[in-house]
């Protein structure tokens, strides 16, 4: 187990290193920041000045070494847009997003698992088909559109919630439900699929033959066995939402989170901030992936390292 953790950690470091290099290549080799940042009418003098200010006049390998040194010291520089250290900006924006996304995923689990179980219990029934259509819609409809529609009905017309902002629970409900649609659809689908397999398995038939009640069978035996795929699925969705997937919904509801930050970063061509964001998200993705891996051991007694 110890060796396995070490191996995974080492690989994580390699991955983060490679991603940093990737970002460097995209920003410094594929494109030239100076071209993008200055208007087309800029004079040659302005171009040279900016190039020098960004340190782009040095040879590429020198730039790369400076870049990597700064990364190793976790020194991301000052955001051009917000005028403060990048890590501070990220910390300020990431907390609302983490709050929202975590609540959404929990909500998705609470909604998705029962829907999946009900669906699997009477496959082919009207209820099953309704739930299947619902979960497919959750997966297929663009989240920002769902958000706008929910906003139209519940905030604009019914006035139950606020349309945008941050602070009260009335701000929270709509974006939370919106973001939960996609993962809830995934969870319901996977729970239904796994549950059907479990219910038709030999052990379930044996349990029924022994006289185990349906409720015990469903909740005690089957549910335990479908936790691993479900949690993995949810983990993937969680990572995707945290890594920018929530951006559109945050924009719709004016949520002051990471997604909004990313949008602002691109609009303001804030290269240092973007590099810092990629680094943070890469680290975050790796940590969650590690956690999912380790969670396997907790849920599945067959997997041992």
């Amino acid at each position: 187990m110890g060796k396995y953790i070490l191996q995974r950690l080492a690989f994580t470091v390699v991955v983060i290193f490679c991603i940093s290099i990737m970002v460097f290549v995209i920003t410094h080799v594929v494109g030239n920041p100076v071209d993008i940042m200055l208007p087309l009418t800029a004079t040659e003098q302005q171009r040279i000045e900016l190039t020098q200010r960004l340190g782009l006049d040095q040879p590429l390998h020198v730039q790369l070494i400076t870049y990597l040194k700064d990364l190793a010291r976790l020194n991301f520089g000052v955001s051009w847009w917000q005028r403060v250290a990048c890590e501070e900006v990220i910390m300020k924006f990431i907390i609302p997003t983490a709050f929202l996304v975590t609540l959404s995923c929990l909500f998705a689990l609470i909604i998705g698992v029962p829907l999946g179980i009900i669906s699997a219990y009477r496959p082919g029934s009207l209820l099953d088909r309704t739930i299947t259509i619902l979960s497919l819609s959750g997966v297929c409809l663009p989240p920002f559109w769902i958000g706008l529609m929910l906003m139209l009905v519940f905030a604009v017309n019914l006035g139950w919630f606020y349309t945008s902002g941050f602070g009260a629970w009335k701000h929270l409900i709509l974006p939370m439900i919106t973001l939960a649609c996609n993962p809830a659809g995934h969870v319901a689908q996977i729970v239904r699929f796994e549950m059907l397999q479990q219910l038709n398995s030999l052990y379930a038939i044996t349990a029924r033959a022994k006289g185990v009640s349906e409720v015990t069978l469903l909740f005690k035996h089957c549910l335990k066995n479908i936790m691993v795929p479900t949690v993995t699925m949810l983990g993937v969705d969680y990572v995707a939402l945290m890594a920018g997937g929530s951006a559109t919904v945050e924009v719709v509801f004016g949520w002051p989170g990471f997604g909004n930050l990313i949008t602002g970063t691109i609009e303001n061509l804030d290269f240092p901030l973007l590099q810092a964001e990629v680094f943070f998200v890469a680290v975050f993705v790796c940590i969650i992936n590690l956690l999912i891996d380790f969670m396997y051991t907790a849920f599945d007694p067959r997997i041992r390292f």
Binding site: V15, I19, V23, P142, I146, L148, M151, G244, A247, T263
Partner: protein, 297 residues
């Protein structure tokens, strides 16, 4: 004893068609997708107005079947903030959306399948290098990397395609590899070698035909995925730039008028949802239908 000259291929095809007809969901999805594809290709023919033609008098008018002025076509899905016909913009907007989805999935599939087959069939160093790259890609924040491309190349259709292509190959690569690995050591491949079939024939005739159905499924699902991704980025304003349009951008532009003109937002969103849903249903059907273990009699 005489040999009946039954046309084998035809028989196979008709049964496939029969089974396809039985699956209502897949059939309807296929028809809807065809309709969307045809209207996209012949957009100018199907649109009732010039999608860029503004009419400031008729701004934000709701869907109606009655023409605004005598002799003009009705704005069946209403008009937007500049009085442009929503229906015509919808028909034209699908061009970018579908183009991005199909281009990215197609090129991703070609690159990924070739690399995956090489990795899976030859193993060793080839496999190790390709799969390490795929692993790193899989743990990278794809959304942010895509945005980095957009930032560096400037927003637009071309940047989106490049950014998405950057990671669309990895899924195909993984799929093709695992399938090729499973088949590589099978008796089927050995028997192919025993009768003297070359590597090319084995890879192309036997391995490809056996892994094609999961790959088609992945392909269809990936088109859906990138249609969604394009909508997301266009909604944020990082995709095609006005006056060109796409479904995502239509929603992005219309969202400020949500309180007064819901129709600008509603229809493009429904179109994205329907397209993605149909692609998913067709993909699922392909998966179930062509599973070699479930070929019915």
């Amino acid at each position: 004893m005489h040999v009946e000259n039954r046309p084998v291929e035809k028989k196979k095809r008709t049964t496939l068609w029969l089974r396809f007809r039985k699956n209502k969901g897949a059939l309807v999805s296929m028809i809807v997708l065809l309709i969307i594809l045809i209207t996209t290709i012949f957009a100018p023919f199907f649109s009732t107005y010039d999608p860029g033609k503004t009419n400031l008098r008729g701004r934000l008018s709701p869907p109606s079947l009655a023409p605004m002025t005598e002799g003009a076509a009705p704005h069946i899905l209403g008009t937007d903030q500049q009085g442009r016909d929503v229906y015509s913009r919808l028909v034209h907007g699908s061009r970018v959306t579908l183009n991005v989805g199909i281009t990215v999935a197609t090129f991703g599939a070609i690159i990924g399948i070739i690399l995956g087959l090489l990795a899976g069939y030859f193993g060793g160093w080839t496999d190790m290098i390709i799969m390490r790259i795929v692993d790193i890609w899989a743990s990278s924040p794809i959304f942010l990397i895509s945005l980095t491309f957009v930032m560096v190349l400037g927003p637009g259709e071309r940047s989106l395609i490049i950014a998405f292509l950057f990671n669309s190959w990895t899924l195909f690569c993984r799929m093709a590899r695992s399938q090729a690995m499973a088949i590589r050591n099978s008796d089927m491949v050995e028997s192919g070698r025993a009768i003297g079939a070359g590597t090319g024939r084995i890879l192309g005739r036997h391995i490809m035909t056996n892994i094609i159905s999961p790959l088609i499924t992945t392909y269809v699902m990936e088109i859906a995925h990138y249609i969604n991704a394009e909508a997301n980025l266009s909604f944020l304003g990082f995709g095609v730039q006005p006056p060109a349009t796409s479904w995502g951008l239509l929603i992005g532009e219309g969202r400020t008028y949500i309180t007064s003109a819901w129709w600008i937002v509603l229809f493009p969103g429904l179109m994205i949802g329907i397209t993605v849903l149909c692609l998913n249903l067709v993909g699922n059907w392909v998966r179930e239908e062509f599973d070699p273990l479930s070929i019915k009699q």
